[in-house]
């Protein structure tokens, strides 16, 4: 029986009249990589902030590591690692000093921190930047420093809010590789993201959020299997052509989506669908057959795309 690290029941977060999180239920087990997938404004960050005991809950109940975030905040935070969405390192001091300063907030002894910092900088591959000012680092490097910082207290649970938003593809892959290693070491990861590839790569289990509610829950693969056919054919047309095809796309399959720039046809047999497209004399500029992803699940559940 796995140990439950987070239990949320009917969890609500309100800002005055605005309901950011609207009565959600979920559980996270030790050793899991658990994801919150959803577009901006879905309530992911609000949920994370409540878990990390930096935002009071407005309703329902929440238990994290067996503690109440509302009344045992400092004790709970001493066992969490947090990577916030917004970079809040001190730009004007060195990487080493940032980590030392942060470690001291946990009341950890300097001698311990000295070793821990060199260990962590090695882990995030920034040993040679230890004495560089944070301001001089690239976005990807700053993120890695923030990850090292979040791990300084050997946390029981590591919380990352949009860890790769705003990073270039190469920096994202370096980061994913590091997070994957943590996962293999058995660190419990909580990740929010609006990138479906990130969620698919890193998460064992995830919830899909939209408008403050959880609209689906499960491992990425089974969510895809449950909610959408196996294959997708994407058709792109020259500007203006899509609008003239009224009705014809929808006849190709039980499930189609017309987006601003392309049409998606969900099917169990991509080749057959493409043959049908040619037979009907449609002339798309490009035809792409691919496997369904979480993006398609999200589209199915909410009628909207994840990243606008």
């Amino acid at each position: 029986m796995a140990e439950t690290l987070i239990t949320a029941q009917g969890l609500v977060k309100k800002f005055d009249d605005f309901v950011a999180v609207d009565g959600i239920n979920f559980e996270v087990q030790r050793g899991e990589a658990f994801g919150f997938l959803g577009p901006n404004g879905a309530g992911k960050t609000s949920t994370m902030r409540m878990i990390a005991a930096v935002s009071p809950i407005s309703g329902g109940s929440l238990q994290v590591l067996g503690l109440d975030p509302m009344t045992e905040g400092p004790r709970l935070r001493s066992r969490l690692g947090v990577v916030p969405q917004e970079n809040n390192l001190d730009d004007e001091i060195t990487v080493y000093d940032n980590l030392m300063m942060y470690g001291r907030y946990f009341d950890l002894p300097r001698a311990f921190l000295k070793d821990r910092i060199s260990e962590l900088l090695e882990f995030v591959q920034l040993t040679d930047k230890a004495h560089a000012k944070v301001a001089a680092l690239s976005g990807g490097m700053k993120r890695r420093v923030t990850i090292a910082r979040g791990l300084i207290n050997e946390p029981d649970m590591f919380i990352l809010d949009e860890p790769t938003t705003g990073l270039d593809p190469q920096a994202r892959h370096v980061l994913w590789d590091r997070l994957y290693r943590l996962k293999q070491q058995g660190v419990t990861l909580i990740i929010t993201t609006h990138y479906m590839d990130e969620a698919e790569q890193l998460c064992d289990r995830l919830v899909v959020m939209d408008g403050g509610k959880i609209v689906a829950e499960g491992p990425p693969r089974s969510l895809i299997e449950q909610h959408t056919p196996r294959d997708v054919v994407e058709l792109r047309f020259a500007v203006g052509v899509l609008e003239t095809l009224d009705g014809q796309i929808e006849e190709l399959s039980d499930r189609t989506e017309i987006l601003a720039d392309r049409a998606l046809i969900y099917t169990s047999d991509a080749e057959k669908t493409i043959a049908l497209v040619n037979e009907r004399g449609m002339e798309p500029e490009t035809v792409l057959a691919r496997r369904s992803t979480l993006e398609d699940v999200f589209l199915r559940l909410t009628g909207r795309t994840l990243v606008d």
Partner: protein
Amino acid sequence: MATPLAFRVFEAEMLIYRRTWIGSVFSGFLNPILYLVAMGVGLGSLVDANLPEGLDGVSYLTFLAPGLLVASAMQTGAAEGSWKVLGGIKWMPTWNARLATPVSVHALTLGHIYWSAARVLMVSASFAVVITLFGVTSPLQALGTLIPAMLVGVAMVAATTAYTVRLKTFTGIPVYLRFVVIPMFLLSGVFFPLSQLPGWIHPIAWVTPVYHGVEMARSIALGTTPFIASWISALYLTAWIVVGTALIVRPLRKQLTP
């Protein structure tokens, strides 16, 4: 819990300060020298020529120096409580980062007050050294003026921070510095006795922390024994510190952990 972690916050501020300390130590000595030369010696020679018996029985330089020391403590307090705080919660949100750790809003507030007090002490101590070098007071008297300087400086930190954490945008800061701090600097008996001003200004000056500090410092530096008024002033300034600090916590919590 809050107390030891407040010292960790203090420690962090010290680490950050190390980066800029040379410039700040330099200006810590340069400012008082400039002011005392220009106002105390330059302007002072004209004042003294008109007042053979002196101002309050002493030369203008001697009259001016203790008050100016307290005024510089006040300005340090105002700066630490305004731009510094706004920086930590808005521009480079390092205060948010602290709250993700066991540091609580209480510890954060106290750590900020402790560190600002240390800054006030640094600025006031270098001022006291300069005053002694100018021969205005004995070293012991100069040391004594640090007490009102600290009280005023920390009262200003607490009150200013309580104001800053209630601001939605930064525009409230220049307004405060221009229309509250500068008038206090000019009209609280630092440059001339309050009796030179129209009577309706007096009650306003009595309310300000800096007036009480200036009176205390002058009484210490001019060798008059601390009379009952000094004790009342000290109590009054302590109340500013306690009430100001208490008024920081709630809005800061609302700002940083909504």
